[in-house]
């Protein structure tokens, strides 16, 4: 089947309005939030499970691959097309099918934007805990595929912990439902959990059953400012060691404080070595005591200033400053390389000082952003893609950072997925036997390698 024939068949399935195959469209769906890009044959917007089934059947018949895509904000190259493939853009499948506050369940289509769900839930006094920094743009399907975390995941866990069930279209066009509205795990193999974080390589999502929670009765947001980044990272491991579980324990270093301040004017101290944003929630009567304990720990770690956000507006400003960080670094340099390593919390200070050392050795500018509470760290190595020699050093630094994380008992990806970007480092973390196990899982779902080929691993 020629490309032209494929496009015609796609138009028959979803209608002309829901297919984009012009040059502009191909370019526009060739990138995501990484520096990678590629070109496919077309982008198609399914509106229903039935559409997705027909697309999968056509892909089998005509011999092309499918690249699922939400908002295209991923940080691992997970939606980059390559050659004879069609991008399946779920952004027009965005209905909220049900919000069941009695049973704490929401049922949604995968193209729904995380923030748009939160806004509807809030009206009913509920929320959905995983809230990646990009939650205003990202889709829930994309969050699920990458198993996104977010600032709240220290206490509440990541996307995986909130997915009760799925409706998916398998690579042969058959539809199955895994899990469902019930809290207990499903009998047999836990297919839901295999699919969460599978980066669109096993099946296409068409419906998601999410666990939702009532909004907490009380919340306190604190800002701790340090002269030294080491003191901030010491605070993190001390808070965890004291048995306190904040919802949020976020760290930003001096470079990122400055780019975030440029972007928001939130009033962050530009000369600070690092800061922590700490948030706790729970019963109103427990708040003061917890704040006091945390303040004590910060003091012990030589905090320069410890502040409480007093108004909702102050809280919003702090959060805005935190959320814009990754986007704001282009103020400094046009390109960045972002890692997503996670280390055991006790190793957090070692990892931070190790990254600073690597940056120095490789003569690179690095900003450190961390969901510090869970040991998940996003070192942002800044550079200019147009300077080849610098790009070389960036690649070396990436490798150093990954190796160090593994040496400290950590992992390569906390929440951004492997995609294309981190594929080459995966064998550092997993033994050949484990990699073979991955391959078997992929092959048992998708023997013809129809879905998002080349992502996570080469087969």
């Amino acid at each position: 089947m020629t490309e032209k024939d494929v496009v015609e068949r796609l138009e028959e399935i979803v209608g002309k309005k829901n297919v984009q195959a012009d040059k502009i469209g191909l370019t526009s769906y060739g990138y995501d939030a990484t520096l990678l890009s590629g070109v496919g044959m077309a982008t198609v917007f399914p509106l229903s499970t039935e559409h997705v089934v027909k697309l999968v059947k056509l892909a089998n018949e005509a011999g092309f691959t499918l690249i699922p895509r939400g908002a295209g904000t991923n940080l691992s190259g997970g939606t980059i097309p390559d050659g004879r493939c069609v991008t399946v853009n779920f952004s027009r499948m965005k209905k909220i099918l049900d919000i069941d506050t009695e049973n704490f369940v929401a049922v949604v289509e995968p193209g729904l934007v995380n923030f748009d769900l939160q806004a509807e839930l809030e009206k009913k006094g509920f929320y959905y805990p995983p809230d990646p920094a990009s939650y205003k743009a990202t889709t829930l399907g994309g969050n699920l595929a990458e198993c996104s975390g977010g600032p709240r995941c220290f206490k509440y866990g990541v996307t995986r912990d909130y997915i009760l069930g799925l409706e998916v279209v398998l690579p042969d066009g058959k539809v199955i439902q895994t899990g469902g509205r019930n809290f207990n795990s499903e009998p047999g193999y836990d297919l839901t959990r295999i699919l969460v974080g599978s980066e669109g390589t096993l099946a296409l999502l068409t419906k998601i059953f999410l666990r939702i929670l009532p909004l907490p009765a009380a919340k306190k947001t604190m800002l701790a400012i340090y002269n030294q980044v080491e003191d901030a990272s010491q605070t993190v491991s001390d808070i965890v060691a004291a048995g306190i579980v904040p919802t949020t324990l976020e760290m930003m270093d001096n470079l990122l404080i400055n780019t975030a301040e440029d972007a928001t004017g939130a009033g962050l101290p530009r000369d600070a070595g690092a800061l922590l944003i700490i948030e706790i929630d729970g019963h109103p009567e427990d708040m003061d005591e917890q704040v006091e304990t945390i303040a004590g720990i910060c003091k012990k770690a030589r905090v320069r200033e410890f502040k409480m956000a007093r108004t909702a507006a102050e809280v919003d400003q702090l959060w805005l400053a935190r959320r814009v960080v990754i986007g704001s670094v282009a103020r400094r340099r046009p390109s960045y390389s972002l890692q997503d390593i996670t280390v055991p919390r006790s190793m957090f200070p070692n990892m931070v000082s190790g990254i600073l050392q690597i940056a120095k050795e490789r003569n690179l500018e690095v900003g450190i952003l961390a969901h510090a509470g869970d040991g998940n760290m996003h070192p942002l190595v800044l550079f200019d893609q147009r300077i080849e020699e610098e790009v070389e050093r960036v690649h070396l630094a990436e490798k150093d950072i990954c190796a160090l994380a593994l040496e400290l008992g950590g992992t390569l990806s906390g929440e951004h997925g492997i995609g294309l970007l981190k594929k080459k480092y995966l064998t550092l973390e997993f033994s050949p036997v484990a990699m073979a196990c991955f391959a078997k899982i992929k092959n048992s779902f998708d023997p013809r390698h129809l879905l998002n080929p080349g992502k996570i691993m080469n087969l």
Partner: protein, 415 residues
Amino acid sequence: MGVLNDVYEMLNTCNKCGFCLTACKTYKTDLREPLSPRGRIQLIKKLVDGVIEPDQDYEDAINSCLLCGECAVACPSGVKGNELVLAARRDLKLRHGIKPFAKSFALKTLASPSRLEHGFNFFKGVGKGLLKRIDGLDYFRGVDIRNMPAAEKPFLEQVPEQITVGDPQKKVAFFVGCFLNHSLDGTAHSVVKVLTKNNCDVIIPKDQVCCGLPQYAYGDFESAKANARKTIESFLDRKPDAVLTACASCGSMLRDEYLKLFADEPGYLPRVKEFCAKVFEFSEFVEDQIKLDESKLKAHTPVKVTYHDPCHMARHLKITSQPRQVLKSIPRLQFVEMNEANRCCGASGLVQAFYHQLSTDITRQKTQNIVDSGAEVVATSCPACMLRIQGGLNFAGKQQTVVHVADLLAKAYED
């Protein structure tokens, strides 16, 4: 490609994080990447890099931008998507002029006072009659044309060039603008009334022309400059204390964009700066420059009012509190905020004519927010928004009416 090379560093600063997606009304409505700020910026960059050609699809991506400026607010790295689109439109104009013919014809008509007057005369007479006869044409491309007001004669022909008061505190030159001159002349009278009630002499230069924004927005800087120069000279000649406009779009052009437009003429720039420093938007002038004597305001009929922030008010002129203050000073006026008050109404100059489906969908979101607010009247500060939103409300069969802040204030002097 000099224009785009000049902005290449800003194009390259977009690191594709996608934070702008949700801020963009065209993307949120259509959900295709090329209609998002990130998509448009990447396309412009790819054009400079020689990866794509400026084909019709490219032009559609560039020309469907509302220039509302929301993306620039949302961008963590300070990339100004609207300015990049403007540069891309300038680049297109330099490549092959403004296409299609209908657009360049409309822009030329707007730029010339006599052609514009002929256009409106035709519309008043033959045009409206024709519309009535052709079924379904009442709503042409989402605009309620039949109910679109057309002044009996242009406002500039209805008033003397100078209106003086007994004890003038200020001498204000009124930049009327095309919409208030030809369509919403009642609003122009409201502005004059508020000024005279507040002891201002009003000068209304007869030789005033279009501010040049419509041409500027599509990259025709030459026509925009010609009109800008006429405006600056005509108004400065009258030596006013202030140049006042009641149109947010004209306001942003007169006060901010003229400076950019003449950035390449250092010899003339001081004159431009002198002019720009005198420009005030209506509610800004009323709140900040004259002390409104609230005891003189009367309003017997209670009314529930909400306010729509035009893009050129909220994000270009950055005037948001003053119109609300003016409204709140009117007795028995209950002010309510609507959801997304500062989001674009979908008008955006010629976007509504050339991308009418997209524009109509965006207007529908605005009218829904108005209805949900419970307000009976929507006040705003831009005649383009007024006509667009009123058309949208009529189209949806709603009873709410749209007025200018100046209309409500002027009425409070009558009651």
